[in-house]
C-alpha cells in the first residue's frame, strides 16, 4: 500500500505508546509496568511530537502523574481496579474538568477554570483513567477540520499538511500520533466519526442519550453526544462501557442499562457474520464521494460478504434533505446555547471601560470572542427561529428529521446494521476549504443522517485509499440502542483486516520521530 507520508512503524514491543489500551491495562494490572511509567511515556511522546501535531490545548502533566500514582497505589494495596484503570486518555476540550482550563476551542472562554466536573469526567476519574490533557477542536465543535479552533489547527499525523478532521481533530490526532491510546470526543453531526475516518482511528457516537451530556459545553442539544475514541474497536468498546449510562443530571439521557459492547466485540472477533444482514444505503454511495473512498468501501462490502453477512441495499430517500435540515436545527439550537457567553459571569470581557452599558459590553465581548464560523451559525439560527420564519425553517427541518428517522426505521426492518463511507473524502490539505463553508459542511454528508435520527454510529478504518494513500473510514450504523450489534460487526470487520494486514490501520501511521520531522 503506497502512501505519500507513510513510513515504517517503529513499533518495538517495549514502546508503551504503541500499545492498545487493553494491553496497557493488562500490563498495569499485572504489575509489569506502572501506571506512572505509562503516563510518563505518553507525556514524553506529547512533548516530542505535539509541537507539530498540536492535538492538545492543555497538557495536565502533574495531575496525570498523580492520578497514575493513585492507581499504582491502589494496585499495591490490592484494590480491585477497573478494566481501564491506569490507562491514559485525551479529553476533548468541550468537556469540563474541575480546575483545568476548558475553552471549547474559543477565545471567549480563554482562562476559564470550571468549578465542576462533567459527568463523563467524573466517570473517567472514578474508573482510574488518567487524563493527560484537553484536546484541540473547532470552536464550540463547529467545523470538520479543526481549523476553526481559536488556538490554531491540529495537523493530521498521517500528513502534517492535512487536516485531522473535526470538530474532534485533536482527539483523533492524539490517537494517530500515539500521544494517547484513548480519547473522548463529541459528535453532533460527525465530529467523532469524520476525524476517526481521516486519521485511521476508531470513533463511536452512541445512541442519543446513551452518555450523559452534563458538563459538555452544548453546541446543539438535540444532536450532541459524547463518545469513545481509540485505535482499536475493543479499546473503543472498553471506554464506551466506562462512560455510558443514565444520569439524573441529564434528563435526555436514557434510563437503560449500559450496553454490553465489550462482550459484543469479543463475539465479533471470534465468530463470522453469518445470519447478519448488512444494509448499504443507496443515498450514501454516489459521485459526491472520492473514488478512493468508494473503492475502499466496496472492498469492505466484499469483506463482509466473505464473513458470511448478507448484503442488502436500502433506500433512504429523505437523506437527500438531511444536510439542509441539519443546518437549520443546529444553528437554531446553538444560537440559544451560546447566548450565555455574555461576559457577565465568566470568560472574556471586552469593552468594560466604565462608561459602557452591560449591553455594549456583551456585544463587544461576543464580537471579539467568537470566530467567524460561530457568528455565522448564530446569525443563521437566530434567523431561522425568528417570528414568521420559524415554521418555514425550524419547523420544516423538524419534519425532515422525522422523515429521516422513519427512513432508518424502515431500513432496519431489512438490515441489522447499515454501512456507508464515514467521510466523503480522505484528509484534505489545511486551508483548502476553510473559506468555503458549504464545501466544509459536505464533509458530514454521510454522518448527519444518523445524528438527526439519534442512532448509534461509528467509524472503523477500512484501509488506505488507493488514490491518496490516506486512511478511509467505514461507517457502521445500528438502530437506536443497537450498540451491541454495531460493535460486533465492527469487531468482525477489524479482525478480518488485521488477519490480512497484520495490524490495525493506525499501526501503519507515520512514526513522527521528531528528529525526522522537518517543519
Amino acid at each position: 500500500m503506497s502512501s505519500p507520508s507513510s513510513s515504517s512503524a517503529s513499533s518495538s514491543s517495549t514502546d508503551l505508546t504503541r500499545m492498545t489500551a487493553a494491553d496497557l491495562a493488562t500490563r498495569i494490572h499485572s504489575g509489569e509496568v506502572s501506571s506512572v511509567e505509562v503516563a510518563q511515556a505518553h507525556l514524553d511522546r506529547i512533548g516530542a511530537v505535539d509541537g507539530d501535531v498540536h492535538a492538545f490545548l492543555h497538557v495536565s502533566g502533574e495531575s496525570a502523574l498523580s492520578q497514575a500514582a493513585a492507581v499504582d497505589a491502589a494496585r499495591a494495596n490490592g484494590d480491585t481496579l477497573g478494566p481501564l484503570a491506569g490507562v491514559p486518555l485525551a479529553l476533548k476540550d468541550v468537556l469540563v474538568q474541575k480546575g483545568v482550563p476548558t475553552t471549547a476551542g474559543s477565545k471567549i472562554l480563554e482562562g476559564w477554570l470550571p468549578p465542576y466536573d462533567a459527568t463523563v469526567t467524573t466517570k473517567l476519574i472514578e474508573a482510574g483513567i488518567v487524563i493527560l490533557g484537553k484536546t484541540n477542536m473547532d470552536e464550540f465543535a463547529m467545523g470538520s477540520s479543526t481549523e476553526n479552533s481559536a488556538y490554531g489547527p491540529t495537523r493530521n499525523p498521517w500528513d502534517l499538511d492535512r487536516i485531522p478532521g473535526g470538530s474532534g481533530g485533536g482527539s483523533a490526532a492524539a490517537l494517530a500520533a500515539f500521544e494517547a491510546p484513548l480519547a473522548i470526543g463529541t459528535d453532533t453531526g460527525g465530529s467523532i466519526r469524520q476525524p476517526a475516518s481521516v486519521t485511521g482511528t476508531v470513533g463511536a457516537k452512541p445512541t442519543y442519550g446513551g452518555v450523559s451530556r452534563y458538563g459538555v459545553i452544548a453546541l446543539a442539544s438535540s444532536l450532541d453526544q459524547v463518545g469513545p475514541c481509540a485505535r482499536t474497536v475493543l479499546d473503543t468498546a472498553l471506554l464506551h462501557e466506562v462512560i455510558a449510562g443514565h444520569d439524573p443530571r441529564d434528563s435526555t439521557s436514557i434510563p437503560q442499562p449500559v450496553p454490553q459492547v465489550v462482550a459484543a466485540v469479543r463475539r465479533g472477533q471470534n465468530e463470522d457474520l453469518s445470519g447478519v444482514r448488512i444494509g448499504v444505503v443507496k443515498q450514501l454511495h454516489s459521485d459526491a464521494y472520492q473514488s478512493g473512498v468508494l473503492s475502499s468501501f466496496d472492498q469492505a462490502v466484499e469483506k463482509f460478504t466473505a464473513l458470511g453477512a448478507e448484503i442488502v441495499e436500502v433506500d433512504c430517500p429523505h437523506f437527500e434533505a438531511a444536510l439542509a435540515a441539519y443546518y437549520l436545527i443546529l444553528p437554531s439550537e446553538c444560537s440559544s446555547n451560546l447566548a450565555r457567553f455574555d461576559a457577565m459571569r465568566y470568560g472574556l470581557r471586552v469593552g468594560d471601560t466604565g462608561g459602557a452599558s452591560a449591553e455594549e459590553v456583551m456585544m463587544a465581548t461576543r464580537g471579539a470572542g467568537f470566530g467567524p464560523e460561530v457568528k455565522r451559525r448564530i446569525i443563521l439560527g437566530a434567523y431561522a427561529l425568528s417570528a414568521g420564519y420559524y415554521d418555514a425553517y425550524y419547523g420544516s427541518a423538524q419534519k425532515v428529521r422525522t422523515l429521516i428517522r422513519q427512513d432508518f426505521e424502515k431500513a432496519y426492518l431489512a438490515a441489522d446494521v447499515l454501512i456507508s463511507p464515514a467521510s466523503p473524502v480522505t484528509a484534505f490539505p489545511i486551508g483548502e476549504k476553510v473559506n468555503d463553508p458549504m464545501a466544509m459542511y459536505l464533509n458530514d454528508l454521510a454522518t448527519i443522517p444518523g445524528s438527526l435520527a439519534g442512532i448509534p454510529a461509528m467509524s472503523v478504518p477500512s484501509g488506505l485509499a488507493a488514490d491518496t494513500g490516506l486512511p478511509v473510514g467505514l461507517q457502521i450504523m445500528g438502530p437506536a440502542l443497537g450498540e451491541e450489534q454495531m460493535y460486533r460487526v465492527a469487531a468482525a470487520f477489524e479482525a478480518a483486516y488485521v488477519a490480512e494486514h497484520g495490524g490495525v490501520v493506525a499501526d501503519s501511521a507515520p512514526a513522527l520521530a521528531t528528529a525526522e520531522v522537518t517543519r
Binding site: E333, A339, D342, M362
Partner: protein
C-alpha cells in the same frame, strides 16, 4: 401630537365608564414554595447573601443542564386542578430568548404554546355577586435573578453607574396564571381585578403551594387593560401595568388606567402598547418599555429537557388531595355557624374566618368565638396596627377564656383582663388568672361577709329592698363588686342579698 397627561389630564372615572368598556387581562406570577429551584437543587429561600444560592445550573455555567423539579410540576398541576383547568397529557418547556444580565442563560426556560394547565375558571365573589373569571392557562417557568442599579437618580438601569447582580432568585419555580379577556364588568372592573387576585391568593394559600407574599414578590400581578367604546366588540390597544404589589394596588392601577386611557381616547389620541409601572405613592402608572415593536423571543422547544407527560393516575391522585376550596368552605362554615352575609364578610375582611373556626373547634360556640375575635380582639388588633392573626393569642386560648366565663369562674370584665394578660405575654389564660388573682370570688362565705358588710353600711337600702323595691338591690351588688375589686359573680351576689334579707324577687 402628544397625549401626555399634561395636555389631556385624566377623565373622571364615572364619565370614563359611561363612554368606554374596560377589557382586562390579568397575569399572576406565583413563586412556588418548593424547597429547591425549578431545574437544580439550590434552595429557594428568600433573602440570603447575594449569590449564595447558586450552582453551575442556575448560573448557566458552560455545560450545565437543567433537570425538572418534580414537586414544582406537582404544584403546577394542583393549581391547574383547583382552577378547573384541563391538565395537559403531554407538554414541553420552551426557550424564550432575550439578553438580560440577570438572566444567566440569556433565555428563560418557560412553557410557551404547551402549558401544563389550560381552559379553567375561577368564580370570584365581588361584593356579594359571583363573577366567573375564565382562565386561559397556567404554565411553569423559572424566575430571573435580580439587578441592583447603583448610582443615578432613578434606581433604573439607565443612568446607573454600575449594576450588581444577584442570582439567588434565578431559577426559582414560577407558575404564571393568565386569564382570558375579562369583559362586561364595566364600572366594577377594578373591584373585579382586586377580588380575583384576592381569591387566587386565598386559593394558592389553601393549596399550600406558595406563601403568596405580594410584598416579597412571591405573588406578582400584571394588569393588562384596554378600553373600547361602550358596546364595541373590538378590543382597543392595551397597556400592561407591572409592579402592582398589593390587592389595593391592583384595584388602583386598573382604575387609574381607565381614567388615563379614557382621557387620551376622548381627546382623539391613541393608546401606546407599552409596559407601565405602577407608582405606589401617587397611585399612578408611568410608561416603561415600549412594546410597539413586538419583541421576537425566538421561542423553540427546550431541547435539554424531555417532555412532561403527567400520568392520569397521578393527576387523579393530586385531585383527590385538593383541600376544600376557600369559598366553598366559607359557605359551609357560614351555614354551620348561622352568620349573616354582612357578619361573614366582616369576619373575612378582618382575616378572622380561620381563627373563629379554630376557636369553635376548641369548644366555643360560633357566636362566642366571633364576639371575641371581631369585637374586643379586633379593637386590640386595630390599636396595635396588626392583623388578627398577628395578635399573640391563639384560638385555643380564646376558647379557654370562653370556657372560664361559662363555668362562672370569670365574668366579662375579668375575661377581658385575662385576654389582656395573654396578649401581654403572661402565659395561658389559667396562668394569667392565677398570677393576677382574677378568679371570680365564688366562696359563698367570703361573699356573704361582703354582702353583710354592704347591707350594714346601707341600712336604708336594705329596708327598701325588704319593702319590695327589688331594683334597689343594684346598689348593694355594686358595693359588693367594688369591695371584691370586681371578682365576684354579680348574679350570685344578687341571690345572696335576697336570701340574706329573706326577699323573694319574683314575688
Amino acid at each position: 401630537m402628544s397625549f401626555d397627561l399634561d395636555t389631556v389630564g385624566l377623565m373622571d372615572y364615572d364619565q370614563a365608564i359611561e363612554t368606554f368598556d374596560p377589557v382586562m387581562g390579568l397575569e399572576v406570577h406565583v413563586e412556588l414554595g418548593t424547597a429547591t429551584k425549578m431545574f437544580c437543587a439550590c434552595p429557594t429561600d428568600f433573602g440570603g447573601e447575594p449569590n449564595t444560592h447558586v450552582c453551575p445550573v442556575c448560573l448557566a455555567l458552560p455545560g450545565a443542564m437543567p433537570a425538572v423539579n418534580r414537586l414544582a410540576v406537582e404544584y403546577a398541576i394542583k393549581i391547574g386542578l383547583a382552577l378547573n383547568c384541563e391538565i395537559a397529557e403531554w407538554c414541553r418547556f420552551a426557550r424564550k430568548n432575550y439578553f438580560y444580565p440577570d438572566m444567566p442563560k440569556n433565555f428563560q426556560t418557560s412553557q410557551y404554546d404547551e402549558p401544563i394547565a389550560f381552559n379553567g375558571y375561577l368564580d370570584v365573589d365581588v361584593d356579594g355577586e359571583i363573577v366567573r373569571i375564565e382562565i386561559e392557562r397556567a404554565h411553569m417557568e423559572e424566575d430571573t435573578g435580580k439587578s441592583l442599579h447603583v448610582g443615578g437618580a432613578t434606581g433604573r438601569i439607565h443612568g446607573a453607574e454600575y449594576s450588581l447582580l444577584d442570582y439567588n432568585r434565578a431559577g426559582v419555580p414560577l407558575v404564571e396564571i393568565v386569564t382570558k379577556p375579562i369583559i362586561g364588568t364595566k364600572a366594577a372592573a377594578p373591584a373585579v381585578a382586586r377580588a380575583y387576585v384576592g381569591a387566587l391568593r386565598d386559593l394558592l394559600l389553601s393549596l399550600g403551594v406558595s406563601d403568596v407574599r405580594m410584598d416579597q414578590g412571591s405573588l406578582r400581578c400584571d394588569v393588562n387593560l384596554s378600553l373600547t367604546p361602550a358596546g364595541n366588540p373590538v378590543f382597543g390597544t392595551r397597556t400592561e401595568t407591572k409592579n402592582v404589589n398589593s390587592l389595593r394596588s391592583v384595584e388602583r392601577a386598573a382604575r387609574y388606567e381607565v381614567t388615563r386611557q379614557a382621557a387620551i381616547l376622548a381627546a382623539g389620541g391613541t393608546i401606546k402598547q407599552e409596559t407601565r409601572h405602577f407608582e405606589e405613592q401617587s397611585g399612578t402608572t408611568r410608561a416603561g418599555r415600549s412594546k410597539e415593536t413586538a419583541e421576537d423571543y425566538r421561542y423553540f422547544p427546550e431541547p435539554d429537557l424531555v417532555p412532561i407527560a403527567p400520568a392520569r393516575e397521578w393527576v387523579e391522585e393530586l385531585r383527590a388531595t385538593l383541600p376544600e376550596l376557600p369559598w366553598i368552605r366559607r359557605a359551609r362554615l357560614q351555614a354551620d355557624w348561622g352568620f349573616t352575609d354582612p357578619e361573614m364578610r366582616d369576619l373575612l375582611a378582618a382575616g378572622g374566618i380561620d381563627l373563629v373556626a379554630e376557636t369553635v373547634a376548641a369548644g366555643a360556640t360560633p357566636a362566642e368565638a366571633k364576639s371575641w375575635w371581631s369585637a374586643y380582639l379586633g379593637q386590640k388588633a386595630n390599636a396595635a396596627g396588626q392583623s388578627l392573626t398577628e395578635l399573640p393569642i391563639t384560638p385555643v386560648q380564646v376558647a379557654e377564656v370562653v370556657a372560664l366565663v361559662n363555668s362562672g369562674a370569670l365574668n366579662a370584665k375579668l375575661a377581658r383582663q385575662v385576654i389582656d394578660g395573654v396578649l401581654a405575654g403572661e402565659g395561658d389564660p389559667a396562668a394569667v388568672v392565677a398570677a393576677r388573682g382574677l378568679a371570680v370570688v365564688s366562696d359563698d362565705s367570703a361573699l356573704q361577709q361582703a354582702v353583710d358588710d354592704a347591707l350594714a353600711a346601707a341600712p336604708d337600702v336594705a329596708d327598701r329592698i325588704r319593702s319590695g323595691k327589688v331594683q334597689a338591690v343594684g346598689a348593694v351588688v355594686g358595693a359588693v363588686m367594688k369591695a371584691t375589686r370586681g371578682q365576684a359573680d354579680a348574679a350570685r351576689v344578687r341571690e345572696l342579698v335576697f336570701t340574706t334579707l329573706g326577699v323573694d324577687p319574683e314575688a
